[in-house]
């Protein structure tokens, strides 16, 4: 079994609100999984639990056999799990390049301890420029991150998440807040950069899901109501009712 991420019996409630109810998922290495569901269905909660922002009320989440639920986000990143954010989390007063320099600097400084990468402090500037090129952000190199257009901020957010050389990358709505024509451009750039990385991405745009996902998990009320190939899941009656929102199931 090549499952790199296994969630078993995961529950999470906030008082009367159930954000996760008996979630069981096994994700294979190098998989490309789309997470869909209405707002409040539990997709971001799931990502938050995997990456250590929240502790499940019960259940286990294992990455490569290691239990994640007791670890802080920092340790989870060091193990190889990285994420991007629905609202881009950048260093707004720094330039795009400096944002990447921070990320690269952290990895370079940790090279012996957990980063296992070729990045060194001396190469930091070069490496940052390479990342800017790869994500087509070179034009925004010296612009303040807080003033960049939303699509660019999203890409920068994802780029930073990849600098830490993760084995699993969780993307929280990578194309939200971005104009329709930019969405595919962003996904193309991101997918081009994630060779050898297992990817889970949350999406509301079903076209994106259909195009890029190899497997789809549909959430509703904290439960996974469908799990399989995109075509099958998107045609599922329950999914059509609770997620896609079509009147007739």
């Amino acid at each position: 079994m090549s499952a790199i991420l296994v969630a078993k019996g995961v529950n999470k409630s906030f008082g009367a609100v159930t954000a996760a109810a008996d979630v069981n998922v096994a994700v294979d290495r190098d998989a490309m999984v789309g997470l869909i569901g209405a707002n409040g269905a539990g997709k971001t909660t799931f990502i938050n639990m995997v990456t250590g922002y929240l502790k499940p009320s019960s259940g286990t989440i294992r990455f490569d056999g290691r239990e994640l639920t007791a670890l802080p986000p920092r340790r989870i990143t060091q193990l190889g799990v990285s994420r991007s954010f629905q609202i881009p989390q950048l260093f707004n007063s720094l330039s795009a390049r400096e944002n990447l320099l921070v990320a690269v600097g952290i990895v370079a400084a940790a090279a012996h301890r957990w980063a296992h990468s070729d990045l060194t402090p001396a190469r930091a500037g070069e490496a940052s420029d390479e990342v800017l090129e790869r994500f087509d952000l070179a034009a925004y190199r010296d612009r303040e991150a807080g003033l960049l257009p939303e699509g660019v901020r999203k890409l920068l957010d994802v780029a930073m998440a990849l600098v830490v050389r993760p084995r699993i990358l969780l993307l929280d709505e990578p194309t939200s807040g971005v104009s329709a024509d930019e969405k595919f451009a962003i996904m193309d750039l991101v997918m081009g950069a994630v060779r050898g990385v297992t990817v889970l991405f949350v999406e509301h745009d079903m076209d994106i899901v259909a195009r890029y996902a190899q497997r789809v998990l549909a959430f509703a009320d904290g439960r996974i109501i469908a799990d399989g190939a995109p075509a099958a899941v998107l045609a599922d009656a329950e999914v059509r009712r609770f997620v896609i929102g079509e009147a007739h199931a």
């Binding site: 938050n48 922002y53 954010f85 629905q86 609202i87 989390q89």
Partner: protein, 298 residues
């Protein structure tokens, strides 16, 4: 046994005027997110204004019994004048800035007002003890206490109840609570946040001035009385939880009684005990005793 009673009584007296300071401070922070260092100057202004007014009244041969009302009137005057002046004239220019920057603005204001007071009233002490001595003393066991202290406690309780009633039972008060809870949402709902701000600051200023005015008869009013008061008030407000009226009351009680106990049993500890308590409370409850819960950020 009487010892303990004396300590408690002293503590409650101390808490009374501390509460008036803290209540205003916490309200201002809760609504406007400003930790107002100038509160100390408002306290001093209240003390000076109260002392001057009563002094002039008594010098004119008028009945001393009215001096208590005059003290409160002085406090109200200070609040009504300084409140809008400061809020409209200065703070309004600074909204939207970082909380710590606003803290520094009020610190600058405090520095300015300290000298303004010196220029207006000179550096000599002002002593107006008649209201303090007038009602005489009463006894707890072997110890004699000025009745004035009871008046102080009574005033604090009444003021506290009035503010609480005003906050939780009147329409204007509910607007304040709404703004405390979520400023942006309140503005979006059509609440005139600017009006709420000036109203809150005026009340806060009046409360600080009341603390000063009611303390004035018991002390020698001199420059610099605001300096130590302000740090103490901060401690109270932080212990109680920023923005919580109940917290201000509880914090004031804790600080008052701790200090009183120190004075009685271990005088060396008097000054630092309060800050130690504050540090301990913050360690146990990082946002104070009655702090508001926070929502998820990502």
């Amino acid at each position: 046994m009487f010892d303990l009673a004396a300590v408690l009584f002293d503590g409650v007296v101390y808490s009374s005027w501390l509460f008036m300071m803290a209540a205003g401070l916490t309200l201002i922070y809760g609504v406007m997110r400003i930790l107002n260092i100038a509160h100390g100057s408002l306290y001093a202004l209240g003390a000076y204004a109260g002392a001057s007014l009563v002094g002039a009244w008594l010098a004119g041969g008028h009945p001393p019994a009215a001096s208590y009302a005059l003290l409160l009137a002085a406090a109200l005057l200070v609040g009504l004048v300084m409140g809008p002046l400061i809020e409209r004239g200065l703070l309004r220019l600074m909204y939207g800035r970082d909380e710590v920057v606003l803290l520094l603005v009020t610190y600058a204001l405090f520095l300015i007002l300290e000298d303004v007071i010196k220029l207006a009233w000179g550096v000599e002490s002002l002593v107006v003890a008649e209201p303090y001595a007038l009602p005489g003393n009463f006894r707890i066991g072997k110890l004699a206490y000025p009745v004035y202290n009871l008046i102080l406690i009574g005033a604090a309780i009444v003021i506290g109840l009035v503010v609480a009633w005003g906050l939780y039972r009147t329409r204007q008060g509910k607007l304040l609570l709404a703004v405390i809870h979520d400023r942006e949402m309140s503005a979006a709902m059509g609440i005139n946040v600017a009006r709420v701000y000036v109203f809150t600051f005026t009340i806060g200023a009046a409360l600080a001035a009341a603390g000063g005015a009611l303390t004035a008869p018991a002390i020698a009013v001199s420059p610099g009385i605001g300096v130590e008061v302000i740090v103490l008030s901060f401690a109270v407000v932080v212990i109680g939880g920023l923005g919580s009226l109940g917290g201000a009351a509880l914090g004031a009680l804790i600080v008052g009684i701790v200090r009183s106990a120190m004075v009685r049993y271990w005088p060396e500890g008097e000054l630092f005990s309060v800050y130690l308590v504050m540090a301990l409370v913050l360690i146990a409850r990082p946002k104070g005793l009655f702090a508001a819960p926070e929502a998820r950020k990502i």
